[in-house]
Each structure stands twice: as structure tokens, then as C-alpha cells.
Amino acid sequence: MRYLPLTDTDRSDMLATIGASSIDDLFVDVPEEARLDGPIRGLPMHASEMAVEKHMRRLASKNLAAADAPFFLGAGAYRHHVPASVDHIIQRGEFLTAYTPYQPEIAQGTLQMLFEFQTQVARLYGCAVANASLYDGSTACWEAVAMASRITRRDRVVLSGALHPHYAEVVRTMAKFTDDEIAGAQPAIQPAPDNAGLISRIDEETSCVVVQYPDILGRITDLSPIAEAAHEKGALLVVVNTEPVALGAIKSPGEQGADIVVGEGQALGVGLQFGGPYLGLFAVRDPKHVRQMPGRLCGETKDAEGKRGFVLTLSTREQHIRREKATSNICTNSGLCALAFNVHMTLLGETGLRRLAAENHRLACHAADRLAKVPGVSILNDNYFNEFTLMVGQDARAVVHKLAAKGVLGGVSLGRLYPGVDRLSEGLLVAVTETTTEEDIEALASALEEVLS
């Protein structure tokens, strides 16, 4: 067995050193009746590298990869080109196979990267401090809600109807087990989000208001009036972003008054990966809120010779010290995904990120104009970044499957995201990125034409 270096001679020599006569002597504390005798039911014996790869390739071949079709899915996960050197760097063993940097003297690579990552995220979001990442955007969203409750000592959460429904569902799930009460609204199919309605639901009991930017339908809304209204009542504004590339084109949530900004960082460096591992981004505008933050933080310090170095810090918030009084039970981050984000962002830089954002927006505008010409289709959005909502005049769930049958991955139906809300069923979310070609757009337009006729 290629991963197991001990030989039978090693094993018997070691047993002799230990003073045991057989391996079973080392399992004496396992009660007889709980010991497994014989092989694991149904599992084949060990297999060669070649045989395992063949099996896994067969499974992989049953999936339609995004690169092999005109591809327009978004809704919280975006397909962007990842430069080849990103994957090269994250596969370096010193990054890939390292553990949590608890011994900072020999983990400066990971720690310096995290410090750079925190700085990049804070700047992108217009915030003072970002953490070293969480599991994904949706869990980061719940952590922001929990943090707002800790800060305000209030427990009424106002959710925008245009928050990604899976994110809202995660918040609702967790709130069932805490004291938080959720005031959420159903989304409405209209060109502009209902900010007046949202603001009217903020009161003196409200811990936070959670809005998405750009929202689930792709609309971009001015956050400042919402921030003002929230602050007036002593509530915090939590802003969720699922497409970080958008922030290369539009104002940051922080500069519009957001208190906590969370999001999904998958779009930069990480790839689609069928939903995970992804990268939860988390930042706060006010540095005094840092001690209420969940997750790991990397900070700068000096070593015994006075050289600059980095360590995990403020761990008194964390579960390994505070146990049941910790700010969160999270004891990991998405370190490798944070590295991928960090490298991709370094390759882009300010110039590259802005060009990437501009290219995404240009292609999205082009796609919207082309798709609007398909009979029976209208574009809902007045504004958008790289994702917008098509109204298709019939159940978009069926349309998606018919498009797939024609080899086109045409978008995400609102019916799949909001199964209980019939009036949304005619909406189709279409995302365009720099990987989308004019041919792809043409293919979607003509396939839609056939499907809808």
C-alpha cells in the first residue's frame, strides 16, 4: 500500500519495543463487542493510482463542465478566469500541506499572506479591518448577524427581500436556535429594490439590517440612505457582496456607511468547485468592533531580534481560550482559498481589477441588449454589474432545462432559488463574466428564441 511506509518487519520490531505481542494488544480498550472483524462491507481492496483515477474520471465525465458550454450561471458563484500561476502557487507543498500557523516562527509564509489578504479585503470593502476568512459567504452572513446582536444587545434582524435566499435561509436556520428574531421580506420583481419598505421596518429593537450589494436580482442600490436610517435607530448595516469583482467598478459598502461587510470571495482565485470550498470574507468599518469579530486574525509584531513578523492574534475571542464564551465556535478559516484570492488579487492589482470589472460590465451590457431582442424576453434591471434578471414569460425552471438539453447553461431560475414564490417563477438570472464570448451570447439568444417560441 503506497501510502503506508511500515514493513511487516518494522511492525514486529516496533511491537517488541512497545512490549506488545500483537497489534490487537494496542486495541485492548476497545470492547470486544465493538471490534470490527473482517473487512469493511462492500469496500473493494486497495487500488492502484491508475485504477482510482479511472473511476474518478468516469464520475467527472458525467458532469457538464462550465468551459464546455455557453455558461451563464451566477447567483452567488461566478466563473472567472483564474491565471495559471494561482494554482501553481497554492499547490506548493509549503502552503498546501501546512497546518494552522500556531508556530509563527515557521509559518511566516502563511501569516504574511493572511496579513496581505486582510489588507486587500479591508480596502476592497472600504473597511478598517478584515479577518483571515470564514467558511463561505453564507456562513459569514450569519456570523455578521450574530456579531451585530452582540454589539447592539438587540435581537431583531431585518433582512432585505433581495438577499440571496440561501443566505437568508442560513440566517433563519441559525436564528431558530438563538434569541434572534428575523423580519424578512419576500423579494419583488421590479426594476428597483424596495428601500423605503426596508427602511420602514427598522425600529429601536433592530440589531441590524442585512442587504445585498449588488442584490440577488443584480440591482445596485445606493446604501447611504439605508445606513443613515439604520444608524438613526441604533442599528448596524450589514452588507453582503457575492461578487467581489463588482467592487472594482462600484463604490465600496464601507464608504456608504456599512458597519459590517461580508461576502463570498470565490470569484477571485478559487473557482466554481460545485459549491465549495469557498471563501467567506468578513470586515468591519469601525476598528473598535474588532474584539467582537469571529474567526482568525493575523497581526503584525516583532521577533526577539527586532525583525518584523506576523502572528495569529486577539485569540482571547476564540474558542480554544474562551470556550463557551467565545465570539464564535469557528476554529478554522479558508486559508488556501484566501491564498488563491490573495495571489489572484496581486496579479490583478488596482489596474487589473478595474479592467476586469469594466470587461465584465461591458459584456453584460452587450448580453442584455442582445437578449432583450429575443421575442418574449424583457430585462428587469435598470442597472446591474455583470448579472441581471430576464423575464421570460413562462416558468424559467423549465426554460433552464430546455436550454441545457440544447447544450446551453443558461442561468439560474428564480423558481429554483425561491421555490415557494410563484410570482417569481418567470425570472431567470443571467450572469456574464470575462469568460463569456460573443458566440456564447449568440448561442444563448438563439437557444432562448427556440425554447420560448
Binding site: 501510502y3 465493538a34 516562527e105 480596502r123 468547485q273 474588532v290 502572528v311 488596482e350 487589473g352
Partner: protein
């Protein structure tokens, strides 16, 4: 004696005894000439540089950004591609990973990360598929989830598995929420979760996050849960207990079945922290011990790489009593061989058709359906090992740990060595150290010997704890070499060798001031002048 250090951390250059730092064996391997200092990205990057070729924005391009165009600079410096590769390659050289050498972190299980797993996870059919793709276009992905789920159930002897939790602690939360949902479904509001004082910090934090009050259960002098104290505390207010087995003292909880029976008799549920499943995989099924829920850290038992602290993946196996409450989404294979993804949309229909209406899912814990990239790696590892190999994994992991325990017990304090074999990890204390030397000094000295330190100061039940876990992928030669270095350090520590207080001497950094970092936190780059 001037044996080379085969751990691979750094090539040997300086014989130890000539630098006057200590008198240990010549395993010290300083090589500073190739250790390059690397500035921060923000000190070397430039705003107008990019390493990606993209078109320049056209002046007449449409703008539909709702008037919210970003006006101010973001402050993100860029590097060209060669500069980027060099920056991160240099940073990587300041890191220690399992690919460089032995990494004996106890309870954290750093083992060989086969590159086949990486290759498989990067197949476009897995890496380049969207979580919301039409289901008929991702049958292979659902089959991976279903196949891995099947083996996790089989290996643990449980009823079902929730695959969506994103990490071990997220899995703990999932398990505790299943318990709470099950109790609430029977109208039984309970307030307390019992947690042994030797438990991982995530256990009490998780129980508290799920709205429970946490009470500690003491550990016996033998390093196991105090069964009598536990039984005494059980009652109608106890929702459940959280037990780690094998536990953090490295021992098997031999009373596990009695604990489960007592908890069940009192109307509660048993959560098992499965972080150490690698010690018993193929040898013991937790389901046979009465466990109701247990998360499995895929990176620990099934070798998915931990990437400097994550990502993890924490599927949770569930007993029949808890299975109906598992979170959405989940997969199910119907009799026609098709694997379905069950989400809010069809939860009710599937519950009726396949579970007789029994499913009462407590909701969704994450946006999509879990760590697919980890599932492909873990399944690849399981199939590579097979039924014979997985059993050997546990046996070799336990053999290696006991070999280290018995090779050190004459030199180091081993409080629980008399209470039976250890499982996957060996626990030592710093009781016999001379001077004012502590566990930390030994740990930092180990770095100079070319090793990553073991887990220190955990579990909390032992003063100056050192938890050493070799795992099954280490050879006897590697262990013998580590033992030689570890023994020489133990001898020096016992003799009160003050030079150890300054270690490490040969790492990229000397001891870092963690107190200063916490007192005045600097958490992002603000400029050279500060």
C-alpha cells in the same frame, strides 16, 4: 556523530556543537543564506502594474452602474506575473508543511497529502461545475457525494450523513442542532450540554452557540471521562453530552457504550467529536457504541490538505433518531440509480415519497451543498486504501503513536501511560523539566532540530501538555530520527539547559512577541511610516 537530518526541512550546513548553542546531537541545520527576506506586497507592488492582460476600458462603453461608480482608488498594488511567482515562492519558503518533514501535531493529524487527490479534484468535471447547474448536468458530482456518504455511513455504522457542514466545528454545530431539533420535535426543551474538561474548545463553544448552557464533566486520573460524575449529572435538563473518542489524552473511552446507554436512558443524545477517527477507522464503528452524531474531519482521516489552516470539511454521521432532522440540502439515491439533490423545493415531496413524511429538516447551514473539492479528495483516498488499507491506517497510526510513547516514557512525564495503550497520539507533560524551562521551550527547540512542534498546552487537564501524533504515513526510520531528537531535547530540558529559552535559533524568525501583537493590534498594512 554528525548524521544528516533527513526530515527535509533544510540541508545541513552547521554542525551543532561548533556554534556553542547546545550540546545535543548534530541535527541542527541552519541554512540562512537561502532564506530570503520578503517585503509585503504593499511595499513592492505598484498601482499601475498588472500581471493579467485585460483590455483597457473603452471610453464609449455603456455604463449601467446606477450612478454608483467607484471614484476613489481602492489601494490595491499589483505585480507582474514573474514578480508574483517570486513573491509567493519566497513566502512559501518561510513555511513548514508536511511535505517538508514530520509534523507531529496531536489531535490535528497532519499526514501525507497524495497528489492523486489534487489531480482528481482539478478534473474540469469536478472543479469547473456550478452548484446550481441543472441537476441532469451534474449527476457525476451527486454520485461522488452519494458514494462518499455511503462509505462514511458504512465506516461509522451509522444511519445517515449530513454532508454540507463546511468544517469540523461547523459539523459539531450541525450535530448539536440535530439534537436540539429532535428534542424540540418531541416537545422536550432541555437546557444543558455536558462536556468533559479535556474536550476541544469548539465543543463548549458549539453547544453555547446552539443556545445551551455548558457544564463540565471531570476527567479521571486515568485520563478518561468520569463515568460516575457523568451519571450523577444526567437528568431531564440534559440535552446531551459531547465526547471525543479517542479522546484528547490519546486514549480510547472504554466506557463509551455505558456512557451512551446512561445518556439515552436519561432521554439525552450522545455527540461524539470524531476528530480522531483516523485511529479507529476500519477497527471500530462509533454507531456500535451508541453514538447519535459525529463529525468527521475529512482532512484528518482522509488526507485532504489543510492549506495553512483550512479549508476543512465536516460531514456529520447521524443515528436513526437524528437522521430526519439533518439540514438541507442533501442527496438521496433512488431505486432507479439516480442521485437527487434535495433542497427546499422538493424536501416535502422526497420526505413523503422516500421517508414516509418523516423528514423534519431543521433548515440550511450553508449556501450550497458542502465542500465538494474535499469530497473528491477524500473519496479518492478511501478508494486508494480500500477495505484492507483503511484498517491498516488505524493500526499503523496506533502502532506509531505507542512506539513514540514507549520510547520517551523514561525521560518525559507520561501521566496516562499506565492506563493502557494510547491510540493515535502520545501525551507528555513538562513536570520533570529543570530550571524554569517549559513545554514552549522544548517546542521551539524542536524547530531547530528540523521538526514542526507537537501540539502544546492541550489538553488542558495536563500541566504543560505535549501531544504528539505521528499518523500512519510516517516510516519507522522517520520516527526513530524524531525520537532521537526529541530524546536529546528532553534530556536538555530535564537538565535545565537555559539556551533552550532562546530557541528557535535557525527559523525564519526568532520568538515572536504575541503579547505586543494583541496589546496594540495592527491588522492591516497602513504604510511604511507607522
Amino acid at each position: 556523530m554528525n548524521a544528516p537530518n533527513a526530515s527535509g526541512w533544510k540541508p545541513e550546513m552547521t554542525p551543532a556543537n561548533e556554534d556553542g548553542l547546545h550540546n545535543g546531537p548534530a541535527t541542527v541545520t541552519g541554512n540562512r543564506a537561502l532564506m530570503l527576506e520578503e517585503p509585503l506586497l504593499f511595499e513592492i507592488g505598484r498601482a499601475d502594474v498588472t500581471g493579467v492582460d485585460l483590455p483597457e476600458p473603452a471610453a464609449d462603453a455603456p455604463n449601467r452602474l446606477g450612478g454608483l461608480d467607484r471614484a476613489e482608488p481602492i489601494g490595491l498594488p499589483g505585480l507582474t506575473e514573474p514578480e508574483t511567482v517570486r513573491h509567493y515562492t519566497r513566502l512559501s519558503r518561510q513555511n513548514y508543511g508536511i511535505d517538508l518533514g514530520f509534523f507531529p501535531l496531536g489531535s490535528c493529524t497532519m499526514k501525507h497529502n497524495p497528489r492523486l487527490n489534487e489531480k482528481v479534484a482539478r478534473l474540469p468535471g469536478f472543479a469547473d461545475v456550478h452548484p446550481l447547474q441543472p441537476r441532469e448536468t451534474v449527476q457525476g458530482a451527486f454520485e461522488v457525494i452519494d458514494e462518499l456518504a455511503h462509505w462514511l455511513i458504512e465506516l461509522t455504522g451509522m444511519h445517515s450523513v449530513a454532508m454540507s457542514p463546511k468544517a469540523g466545528a461547523h459539523g459539531e454545530l450541525c450535530g448539536i442542532l440535530c439534537i436540539r431539533a429532535a428534542l424540540e420535535a418531541r416537545g422536550d426543551a432541555r437546557e444543558v450540554v455536558l462536556v468533559p474538561d479535556s474536550a476541544h474548545g469548539t465543543n463548549p463553544a458549539t453547544a453555547a452557540f446552539a443556545g445551551y448552557r455548558v457544564e463540565n464533566i471531570p476527567t479521571t486520573d486515568e485520563g478518561r471521562v468520569d463515568l460516575e460524575a457523568l451519571k450523577e449529572r444526567l437528568g431531564p435538563d440534559v440535552a446531551g453530552v459531547m465526547i471525543t473518542n479517542p479522546n484528547t489524552c490519546g486514549l480510547f473511552e472504554r466506557d463509551m457504550k455505558k456512557i451512551s446507554d446512561a445518556v439515552h436512558a436519561a432521554g439525552g443524545f450522545v455527540y461524539c467529536d470524531g476528530a480522531n477517527f483516523n485511529a479507529i477507522v476500519g477497527k471500530v464503528r462509533p454507531g456500535d457504541l451508541g453514538v447519535d452524531a459525529m463529525h468527521i474531519n475529512l482532512h484528518k482521516t482522509f488526507s485532504t490538505p489543510h492549506g495553512g489552516g483550512g479549508p476543512g470539511s465536516g460531514p456529520v454521521v447521524l443515528s436513526e433518531a437524528l437522521a430526519p432532522f439533518m439540514p438541507l440540502p442533501y442527496t438521496i439515491r433512488t431505486n432507479d440509480g439516480i442521485v437527487h439533490l434535495v433542497e427546499e423545493e422538493d424536501a416535502e415531496q422526497f420526505s413523503q415519497d422516500h421517508f414516509g413524511g418523516a423528514m423534519q429538516n431543521f433548515g440550511r447551514m450553508t449556501a450550497f451543498h458542502g465542500q465538494m473539492g474535499m469530497f473528491t479528495r477524500a473519496l479518492t483516498y478511501i478508494l486508494s486504501h480500500g477495505a484492507d488499507g483503511l484498517k491498516q491506517v488505524a493500526e499503523d497510526a496506533v502502532l506509531n503513536a505507542n512506539y513514540i510513547l514507549r520510547s520517551m516514557e523514561d525521560l518525559l512525564h507520561t501521566p496516562f501511560a499506565a492506563s493502557g495503550p494510547c491510540m493515535h497520539e502520545a501525551l507528555f507533560g513538562d513536570k520533570d523539566f529543570g530550571g524554569d524551562l517549559s513545554t514552549l521551550d522544548l517546542a521551539k527547540s524542536l524547530i531547530d532540530e528540523g521538526y514542526h512542534p507537537m501540539t502544546v498546552y492541550f489538553p488542558l487537564v495536563l500541566h504543560g501538555a505535549m501531544l504528539v501524533e505521528p499518523t500512519e504515513t510516517e516510516s519507522k526510520a522517520a520516527l526513530d530520527q524524531f525520537i532521537a531528537a526529541f530524546r536529546s531535547l528532553a534530556e536538555r530540558a530535564n537538565a535545565g539547559d537555559e539556551t533552550m529559552k532562546q530557541a528557535p535559533y535557525y527559523a525564519p524568525r526568532r520568538r515572536l512577541d504575541e503579547t505586543a501583537a494583541a496589546r496594540k493590534p495592527k491588522l492591516s498594512w497602513t504604510g511604511l511610516d507607522e
